[in-house]
Amino acid sequence: MTDDAWLAALAGELRRHQLGPDLTAHVVAETAAHLRDSGESPLSAFGTPEGYATAVADSVGGPQPTTRPAGPVRLEVRGITKRYRRRQVLAGVDLTVRAGQVAAVVGANGSGKSTFLRVCAGLTQPDAGTVRVHGRLGYCPQDGGTSEFLLPDEHFALVGVGRGLSRPAARRQGRAYAAALDWTPPPTQARHLSGGTRQKLNLVLARLGTPDVLLLDEPYQGFDRGTYVDFWHEVWRWRDDGAAIVVVTHLLNQLDRVDLVLDLTRAEAAA
């Protein structure tokens, strides 16, 4: 990798960490000056762009964890019970999420994480329990949720019109959310998109029209590392904008930064 390529990669990584244009430019300029002065190779002096950007982000504290007062209740889940044949999947699950909160749903494979989210979205009927959604609901399934033969822009228009947006507004908003995931929607039918790209489309569609409650079912499958980071930054941003967010995840390294954790493992063990 040439110095310039390494520096460009560094700039990209710093942006991913949302360090702001000023700090990003300063760090890159200082690093470039050091490389010129010392004549060292960037990899031996600074390591990988990813690693160095993470070190920089850590030293300035990363995106600031703020303690915001939680808003009004947006999602109320009470006593959800669901069994498939003889297998109890969910047993009296409760969850309350307020505006500006992120709830993580965790649990082993088969512990009913996706079922729980589908129940919340009204796609699966539980055996008992109620779900109350205040405002509008956005849902991002693990797969599906798109139409094979439509272009990304046509998806934006279709979902946007349902949400009461005009077509140009829906397209603009869709493209803006896509850009935050470092994606420029191509004029390609959804069936020709890769798995990760299709999930980006899925995620953008869930957010279109800024719903008040967002249900995300492991939406990052097939994302590369950078997009995965982008995804969580988007989640924090949506939370800061006042959305109530429920994320199904089996990756626990983000749990220190969510507001609530719903662990479904125990429900399965008890059954």
Binding site: H26, V27, A29, E30, A33, S38, A45, F46, V56, V60
Partner: protein
């Protein structure tokens, strides 16, 4: 000397050493790296040094300015702030007490 142990020790005091060097006057990253090497603290990688400088800047212990050199590129210069000077004086005392205790303990081991 064991390189790992040395790196470990340095990690704990690198920020202090940088403050110490800056007590002699304004400097920039590469010059600080060289000065640390000359002082016998071993080669310091840029990837280690600059995050420390950012932390010091963020804590308000150093101030910075960009200055374009006539011959080279613009460089970021670091200068000790009043808070940095106070911090250096205090922690230098702490460090002396700490190394004193370490030295005493090690001598007891010899006996």
């Amino acid at each position: 000397m064991d390189a790992d142990r040395r790196a470990q020790w340095l990690r704990g005091v690198l920020d202090l050493c940088v403050l110490g060097l800056l007590a002699d006057g304004e400097s920039y990253g590469y010059e600080l790296a060289q000065a640390l090497g000359d002082a016998g603290l071993g080669p310091i990688r840029g990837g280690t040094l600059y995050p420390v400088l950012l932390r010091l800047q963020r804590a308000g212990l150093v101030t910075t300015r960009w200055h374009g050199g006539e011959t080279g590129p613009a460089r970021k210069y670091y200068r000790l702030s009043a808070a940095g000077r106070t911090e250096l004086r205090r922690t230098a005392g702490d460090w002396a007490a700490f190394t004193g205790s370490v030295a005493t303990t090690l001598r007891q081991e010899e006996r």
